[in-house]
Amino acid sequence: MVDLRFSIGSLEFKNPVLTASGTFGYGSEFDDFMDVSKLGGIIVKGTTLEPREGNAYPRMAETPSGMLNAVGLQNKGIDYFEKHIYPRISGYDTNVMVNINGNYIEEYVALAERVSRLEKIPAIELNISCPNVKMGGMAFGTNPVSAREVIRAVRAVFPGILIVKLSPNVTDITEFAHIAEEEGADSISLINTLVGMSVDIKKMKPALSAITGGLSGPAIKPVALRMVWQAARAVKIPVIGIGGIMTASDAIEFFLAGASAIQVGTASFIDPQAAVKILQGIEAYLIAGKFSGIDDIIGLINRTV
């Protein structure tokens, strides 16, 4: 048997296959299709301090090998999460993590404090890369000064594992990777969606009510892979690769490029069993290649070129 475990600081994961925030609900949406506890971890929907209604419909457009979304962080807020969702999901035998979002640094901080009191949530993913909100979100993740501020502020109040989710909509991803590492993040995850747009030529209007949205799916995989490769060479903390991973083969590209773990996003919409299938495929690849564990292939291309 190959060793699939990976860890971020003191936090152990049974395997490196996680699900991406906003694409896996709270896990229970997928209970009918798989044993969610088999996964290395799940990252629940983007959560905010106050409830949010998100953007108006239409929020989605299909694009070549991908989709645009402009959900805009619709969620019922941390109170509701704590009361109604937390009890339900804390039963999963895997790491359940919360993706946190805010308009202001204070909101991020307050939210991180709230989550830090939830015993069964060992990690937060600090989302400074949501492209679908007018305030906060990507505005933090594309400006080095405010990125540093928000990470520092959250780090100061959150003793658990801190993962910072980076935006790909920047000139130099390593700059933000460095900032996260310097400010004490335990890990970085990337990429969030690329800002994109689609036009309905019959209606002569943008396809999305918010005009622009976040591009996800296989279309972005080459960009994601490049950024993960760059980031993994720039920092020592583990890098979690995200972007267009549909199959085990896609996931393995990310490991070879330097990712220590991966998140499955849009793939779950097309195949709700995608994450477990990817997990099985990774295992099969390692066995076929006679590797003793996932560690053996992480960043391997840096050694072959």
């Binding site: 419909y57 239409p58 989605m60 070549p64 919409f269």
Partner: protein, 255 residues
């Protein structure tokens, strides 16, 4: 009722006209009990432009044959590819999805209203209601005589009223122009069809205080409540048409 992901075998592909066809699909395991208004998410293979699954209402169910039917309109790339499926091809479905029309009391006077290919869930609903002891009236609107589909099937369920936009059959005009709406007193309306039609029918129902449920066809990515892309504004805030719907009582919608 747990959701499943399953390969269905095409047992028939019946072309109704240029735009419409009916796929009859056999499950690879025993069908669970399905409810009218529920839908499936179909994975279109072999269409480079089709990335996401495509939602279709359950048009009819035959538990004896272990099949269900989809009534599909060729709207673009994905449905175009589906129209070419033949016997022994497979279609992967996630199902059953969504809520369903409510089960009315046996004494209620019911009207089913459908237009164009929006009639898809009505046949299943009508048969279901009939087996429940109801005999609903059915009001169907089409563009012209040539577009009328499955009239005979509906006639087995209840009294059928027709409108065509050009008057080539039934009353001329839209469904809301049909005199039966002013002549009869209905307790409840079930409606599906183009957005404009549903809004018109909802308007009619609202002014008369008639209970009315509509089935929405919002754009969907996941179909299982995971992406929040398919929302509709309701009195309870944005709700997902894929799990809180697709059937909504018009009183809940912010129309």
């Amino acid at each position: 009722m747990p959701k499943r992901i399953e390969d269905f075998k095409i047992v028939d592909n019946q072309r109704l006209n240029n735009d419409l066809f009916i796929l009859e699909l056999a499950g690879s395991s025993d069908l669970p009990e399905l409810k009218p208004g529920q839908f499936v998410q179909a994975k279109v293979e072999g269409s480079p432009q089709t990335f996401l699954r495509r939602p279709f209402s359950i048009h009819d169910v035959d538990y004896a044959r272990n099949t269900l039917k989809l009534l599909v309109q060729i709207a673009g790339r994905g449905t175009g590819v589906l129209s070419g499926l033949g016997k022994d091809d497979y279609l992967n479905l996630i199902y059953p999805l969504g809520n369903s029309f409510s089960l009315p009391g046996k004494e209620e006077k019911l009207l089913l209203v459908g237009g164009g290919c929006g009639v898809a869930p009505l046949l299943f609903l009508g048969k279901y209601l009939k087996s429940n002891g109801n005999s609903p009236d059915i009001l169907l609107g089409f563009r012209n005589r040539a577009r009328i589909i499955e009239e005979a099937e509906y006639a087995k369920i209840g009294r059928v009223y027709l409108t065509t936009e050009d008057g080539s059959e039934g009353e001329k005009g839209l469904v809301t122009d049909h005199p039966v709406l002013s002549e009869s007193e209905y307790d409840r309306i079930f409606c599906c069809g183009p957005d404009a039609m549903m809004r018109a029918v909802a308007g009619y129902a609202a002014t008369r205080g008639i209970e009315c449920e509509v089935s929405l066809e919002n754009l969907m990515a996941c179909g299982i409540g995971a992406c929040l892309c398919c929302v509709v504004a309701t009195v309870n805030g944005n709700q997902c048409t894929c799990i809180d719907g697709p059937v909504f009582n018009i009183n809940d919608l912010k129309w």
